[in-house]
Assembly symmetry: D3
Homo-oligomer: 208 residues x 6
């Protein structure tokens, strides 16, 4: 369970020794993710996705989580198995996709630790930390970790997925009903790096 402000996400990892057809006999591992949100997670109740199928937004988020976590994986070292990371939002107050990536990494780390203790994996397949930070420009000011009221009013909204050693995996910056300059972009990335450092410290402490 990861908590970022009032956003609570339950992240679990399931190891599956059966791999999909297209991966058989490659000797490579895979990491994939699914994402969901309880109907009552938001301030006003949402409709239940099981009733109407996953939205495009949900599918986009779960592809992002999977892609982000795979960036830190040495696939041959993981061996021919699949790890499925489930991120279920229990309470949402902005930044659920970032919390899911950061918490998903913790679940992945713990699952891999278990594989290593069991001797099923010998060399550590996790190359680096992966943490994600949302920030934006709110009322003209750059703000880290937007909560929901800020997020929905933000002119510019960014999500940054970064590694522990400082490189980038994914940048999504988006303006709704306005535009932004390259200077504003630079300011937001600087801010995101500060947030990333804090998250990596927390990840290290809970998985040590």
């Amino acid at each position: 369970m990861i908590r970022c402000g009032d956003t609570h996400v339950l992240c679990t990892a399931t190891i599956d020794e059966r791999v999909p057809h297209w991966m058989k006999n490659t000797g490579l591992g895979w990491v994939t993710a699914e994402y969901g949100m309880l109907p009552r997670a938001t301030h006003s109740r949402m409709n239940r996705e099981a009733k109407k199928g996953q939205s495009g937004r949900t599918q986009e988020i779960q592809r992002l989580i999977g892609r982000s976590l795979r960036a830190c994986i040495d696939r041959p070292a993981l061996g021919e198995r699949q790890i499925m990371v489930d991120c279920d939002v229990i309470q949402a107050d902005g930044g659920t996709r970032c919390a899911s990536i950061t918490g998903g990494w913790v679940a992945l780390r713990l699952a891999v630790n278990k594989l290593m203790k069991a001797g099923m994996v010998t060399s550590d397949p996790i190359i680096d930390h992966v943490a994600a930070v949302s920030c934006g420009i709110y009322a003209g000011q750059p703000v880290l970790d937007l909560d929901y009221p800020e997020d929905s009013e933000a002119g510019v909204d960014g999500n940054f997925v970064m590694t522990g050693r400082g490189t980038l995996i994914e940048i999504q910056m988006s303006a709704e009903g306005s535009t932004f300059s390259r200077d504003q972009m630079t300011t937001l990335i600087d801010l995101a790096e500060i947030g990333r450092d804090q998250l990596v410290t927390v990840q290290t402490s809970v998985t040590a």
Copy 2:
């Protein structure tokens, strides 16, 4: 959050002042329920319902929860509004439908308390407690609160929804691959009443 052994269900109630079309201008209230289970709630990971639509089992359970909770509601006293009870299973170890009903009653009680404090409802629309107990015959012995290994091997499996004052709302008894006698049925109901008394005590303590 209700915990029965290792079964954890998150129950919430949402008050909706807009009622469905067919209830308009009747002056009567309504209670309905939705049910879901996180993919990782069970011992081995299940498929996510948002991906393939709600199963018939899920729909059957949510109709049961709604029907059970309505049995204790004075609909004119509730007034023309709807209360939606969401029951989401975070961890499952048998008896999730019973835990959902018992916990759903707590969420409903707290939501109605709020309405009464706000003066929106003057006379208490909740007539009685509603609690549900699962029991079965396991290895020839009647057992209360089956956990999952017992449940899946039980020759006879029963769910009993009861009121605080001792009457019954719903009985579901089912034998898979065997049958049961009327004497066995009587034994199970006696056992269920003991369980019901314990649950009503807990319900009272958390909603007082």
Copy 3:
């Protein structure tokens, strides 16, 4: 075709020598059921399920029919084959699930007779009769075989699936908008046993 009052259900059994994957090489047989209702079977026309998918109620009923019929089957004696029982309601006036179970047993009995005559099954895999009775409390009185106007107004509604020798396979008792006592429950089961005896006599006469 089974007729109970104005409820007419067409029951057929199809023997399939190909079994599902998970049953292969077990040597065990299986019985499963599907249920449907013509749009004009009810007093006012229903929507056609082929247009909107099977409802949760339909899926619940077909699982009940399958579970009930399997309770009387000696699976090793049936051998590694599957019997699919189709129950299609042509005209409905209450009690369609009970008529489906009782009539489904007849279709199953006739299909198994055919297998035995053909020498494909040597020892009779049908252990006992299975018959289902609906009864309820209507205007304060216990009533057997509720027809539709009674059924929809009944405070308490019960379905009882029983074997020929007197044991129980399934009990479903439900109160909508009220509750019932243990004494009322006992009265209904006594009544159901009378109904069961009549149905077993009819089943014997049409399959002899």
Copy 4:
């Protein structure tokens, strides 16, 4: 219930005084149709459409039935109401779409008679009979009323929807894996007219 050889179709008509939105205040009536087939209607069991949605073939047939029946309707005389004709195939042995149209006309005729007796319709809105005949070329010979073994082997297969007075509403002629000449076409229509005369005689006798 119409029987053509071993093809049995249950046809019913439902009068609906509520019309679809686009017909309101036009003063015109409408006739529409739905078509279904029980899984066990064919020689080997089909999958149930309620489980997987209506096939394109089913939708095509029900549009054909509706279009055919509307050709004999005086829409102003019917008045602003809708008649829904349901055709459910209980047993199929070829020619189910033709049997549905011919039987659907009978159901429509009886429903309109009822409206006229009740004084809701004053001038008869049914202008003429509608009957449908299937014929084809089987083993080089033109054949009327193909049954299933003939139908599935026929090189050329035709369905002809005709009125009582001799005009045509719909012609569908189709060759699978071969072609046909204009002379062969003429022979088949001559044959279809003979079949049509027989069906109109039967329609008259059952609706008089």
Copy 5:
């Protein structure tokens, strides 16, 4: 790309060396078709089929295209492979199914030419031309190649699929809200043959 008046259809053929399961080891080829229409192809924008699933009309048209093209194919000569013809309507002004068949034949012809040049097919599997013509009775006059305003008002509407040497593959004639005589039918077929001759000339010129 075939253009008939203002109807533009993009036809392509894809050769697939993998055949469906039921065709394996038969040595026979297969031709199948899919059909689609861009939302803006019609005068007022249609809904996008990808959002709500293929309509029955779309499925009916793509079965017709496949059946028509197969009538001119020598399946053993084609060899065990499948050719998928895609017909996508870019702009629609009536007669899209006929344009799809006529243009689909061109795409098929070019794909087979390629197979023959590559030496994968030795004897030409295309026996004859296939061309389709729509005509109808508009304002009392027989008209060839109905464009959309005519088509939607036509009392009688016909589609004729014909071979180059003069035989017929499919006739669909349909009256909406009226009927037609055998003489009118004859007039329309005569007209269709004139249209067919023109199309065959064009097909020959673009595939020579």
Copy 6:
């Protein structure tokens, strides 16, 4: 029709004077987009989306197109109407989402010109150009306008949506199986600005 290398996208804009319910009486306009791809647009044939529903990727792209085009719209100046932009990919060779945005702007510009000529809009609601550029790092080198073979092998892939005057609307940068540095990010944005200038010149020439 926009062509970028071998990527061809058909972009059209439809003006709808009826607005969605939530926009009524706001006086504000709206721009939305839909996206599709013909099955044969790619090198090997894709499945048809109409058969299996829109993928999450398709929904994500159409939301991006709508959001990008809205960034250049003065909603009060547009007035209470909706413009739907359809982008259908006829042939795909990388960069279809960028081509759709750039071409969608052209379709939008032409539709608004038409509204202005008709006097339905008095002040120009289009504030600026919107153009989108894809670039990436391929074999260690930054490359503009990735075509498909480059795109699918690119370690880092970026899409940049920009205005004519130099500000940013959306940045999506993503690494699959690797990561990238801030310097690499800066290089890619510099490159994207060069591409943007070229596109704006083309947009101006075709809409002048």
